[in-house]
Assembly symmetry: C2
Homo-oligomer: 154 residues x 2
Amino acid sequence: MKRSDITHLNCSVARALDVVGEWWSLLIIRNVAYGQHRFTDIAESLGVARNVLTDRLRTLVEADVLRRVPDPDDGRAARYELTDKGQELVPLLLMLMQWGDRWESPDGAPLNVVDSSGEVVDLALVSRRTGEEVDLATMRLRPGPGFRHEARGG
Amino acid sequence: MKRSDITHLNCSVARALDVVGEWWSLLIIRNVAYGQHRFTDIAESLGVARNVLTDRLRTLVEADVLRRVPDPDDGRAARYELTDKGQELVPLLLMLMQWGDRWESPDGAPLNVVDSSGEVVDLALVSRRTGEEVDLATMRLRPGPGFRHEARGG
């Protein structure tokens, strides 16, 4: 199992991947973020097997990334919504989308992110305090409060 | 195989995941970005089986995310370096790290990103043009030049 394989890595990238690293998981989160909330809609849109989707949805609800609520239009059915924790993955999805647009989409971007003025948005990762663009050439990594010397990884 | 499973999805998130969605792949990219360039160092740090690492490295080189170059200290060995395409995944890794710090690290962040003044960086995703912070509440998605009506996904 994934979980036992990577939690020894003393790094939040590994821990994040332990939650969302399964590729269907990120696609499901994407679809919910884009406004699809029902099992059948997500299943049809992704073309994913229903048992796989059931399993991934349950894992995401257990990880508090999605919330399962009764569907107001159909009491027997459920809606899936992003929690705050899930909502904070949306910028990450948008960056992944921009990377895919740039490097894996020879015909051009299938979808553009546009701002309120209708202009296509070019995303940049910055420091919230300084507005400076982030990369590892200008910034560096330092052990934080949760660092454990005995662990592998970085 | 992964590839045949998701390329029908008309979305750059799916295409990006097709390249980097395997969780070892992102951890390998992370280690190379942090300055580990040799097979044996990466294998030991991640605790990954050598055949798995060989396979993932080959896939990442084929996808032009990593470049394999002769090791100047040992002509028979190789170094792995990030290409430009791989370098553009680093902000994404940093975002994934920040998300994991915030939501999956009860003991605090194992590693902090610090800027040149030594302050811990709080990352934000902004529009490069306006500096406005990005989320799907203020921005929206619109079909781009590569949109295909017949395809599923979004």
